[in-house]
């Protein structure tokens, strides 16, 4: 049997391998055999109607959801029941949520430095220096001492991105990062994400922001009914979608 560690971190290997991933909630089957390989530095956009399993899928990658069949290998580590493997994978993957999920009782700076200090065991000063650099990058260094409740939605989501980046992850997962935002704040978050995509980090983004996909995605995956219906480059997907379901969905989200 192939052990999980044998193929660790060789640069030519895909950084994420998902083989025939299945997931049930009770009797409802949310994922019906997902296969996906993501290479280092790729920016992937996943889209599809609600309930299609796209969020569930990226949440299985860092084990926020458990898959019941199939295999997931992240950066050479297989995601299984083994808690040590799960913690290793989570250390290497950052995640940004639809509802931000900042810690409301901690300041912005404490939100960002908590994991580096307690998981990476960094000195507080080093963690704070990095946190301030990240806040510069997302454009809100002046908010460091505020509490999340004092920020706008767009600012909160940018803090959430900085918080995930503070662990210096190899992979960033975005679960509908702009869906809970007012229209005028979507752009400020997308700008940060575009900058991030250009920096060469591996990104998986669940989103309906097709402008973002056109600008930075290397490949796109269309999910429906727990399956990958179609995948390809943004050019292929937007200009010649092969499947009727993809065409229909694109026409629905692009016409307004």
């Amino acid at each position: 049997m192939e052990t999980a560690m044998s193929d660790q971190s060789s640069p030519s290997q895909p950084i994420i391998i998902a083989r025939d991933v299945h997931k049930w909630y009770g009797h409802f089957q949310a994922l019906k055999g997902i296969n996906m390989e993501v290479n280092r530095g790729e920016v992937i956009v996943i889209f599809g109607p609600s309930g299609s399993g796209k969020s569930t899928f990226i949440r299985t990658l860092n084990r926020l959801e458990e898959h019941q069949r199939g295999q997931i290998i992240v950066d050479g580590i297989e995601v299984t029941h083994d808690l040590r493997n799960i913690e290793k994978v989570r250390t290497e993957t950052g995640m940004v949520f639809q509802q931000f999920n900042l810690f409301p009782h901690l300041t912005v700076l404490q939100n960002i430095t908590l994991a580096p200090i307690w998981v990476r065991k960094w000195k507080k000063q080093k963690a704070e220096e990095l946190a301030m650099q990240l806040l510069e990058r997302v454009g809100i260094p002046e908010q460091a001492q505020k509490f999340p409740g004092q920020l706008s939605g767009g600012q909160q989501q940018r803090v959430a991105i900085a918080r995930a980046m503070a662990m210096q992850p190899k992979i960033m997962l975005f679960d509908e990062p702009t869906s809970a935002l007012d229209p005028e704040m979507i752009k400020e978050v997308l700008d940060v994400m575009i900058k991030l995509a250009q920096s060469g980090i591996t990104m998986l983004v669940v989103t309906h922001e097709m402008g973002f996909a056109k600008a930075v995605a290397k490949r796109m995956f269309f999910f429906d009914d727990g399956q990958i219906v179609e995948s390809g480059t943004p050019d292929e997907i937007f200009k010649n979608p092969r499947e009727d379901r993809t065409k229909l969905f694109l026409s629905q989200i692009l016409t307004h």
Binding site: F103, L114, A115
Partner: protein, 402 residues
Amino acid sequence: MAHTTARQGILPPPTERYSVLGWLHKNLFSTWYNSLLSILALLLIYSLARGFLTWLISEAEWEVVRVNLRLLMVGQYPSAETWRIWLCLYLLAGITGLSWGVWVRGRWLLGAALLAAPLLISLAPGVTSTARNQLLGIDLAALLGFAIGRAGGKRLRRIAIILWVLYFPLVLLIVRGLALAESWLPIVTSNLWGGLLLTFLLTIVGISFSFPLGILLALGRRSSLPAVRWVSVSYIEVFRGVPLVTILFMASTMVPLFFPPGTRPDPVLRAMVGITIFTAAYLAENVRGGLQAIPAGQFEAAHALGLNGFQTMTFIILPQALRLVIPVLMGLFIALFKDTSLVATIGLLELLGISRSILAQPQFVGYQHEVLLFITMIYWIFCYFLSYISQRLEKSLGVGER
């Protein structure tokens, strides 16, 4: 001019001011039937309170309280060791003053009121001159602590918290004694503890042990391990289903069965165990309520960052959950303070117990009104104080303002 200010919207809000007569007219005598109701209500209050007021003004004799003041405060705690109780109070005043200087700073009126309390007590009849000096000393300790806290500022925050955590075990040590050397802090056995002192010790021990135990039980009830969950649920359901008096009786009659014959565990210790066990079950349910109010996204965000289960609980979930339940917990602690009076039924001489034993002496028979009213006032003052602290804490932590 008035026109422009109105347009800029900076008019002060209208204030309603009434004279006393105006207030009476508005609230009590606005119509003929309201006037009738008010007069009837006043007559009713008068007829109910008349007996009490005549007694309070002309018949009450407070001699019994004055003579037994020491018993009511500390029970039969030996006179030679009373300085230890004063030491505890000095420390309490000092740490309170320090915390006041570090966190509160302003609020001069309330500070002055707190400082005035020992002075007022020292003016009361029946207070000995040594006690009077000690009470003055307590105010000095508080002022000293305040000066240090104010000078030190934020740097002393951590120290102040550590001092509070250390204070309560330290009080137990000082009161009980160490007996390290022959004559140094000899042990004062718990059968000599009594009065308000014992009431406080029971409360302090009850709070400090039921708090961690209750949190563990609340976490245990949510655990994914069936054995842990099962033990927690049965503990909580068993002890919430039994009255405290029953638990105290059980503790005093059944606990000795578990010990080798001949050794009798200390009755005060048994009462403390009973109170702790009982309170922990309620506290666990309150904390569980707080835990349930934390959205799943908080767990997910913490896990996604690589924090393990313990770190997630300690840094993310518990701080938020406990903040939410502060009002409920303070209510629980106030109830605990009052419920300590139940240990009188198993023969301990805390505030209520010692009052009953005083009233049982032939020379004080018939003075139960005075003594009971006195200890009622003591209970009320401390409960009101605790509930006031709880309100302040709620405000400063912003509970309910999320």
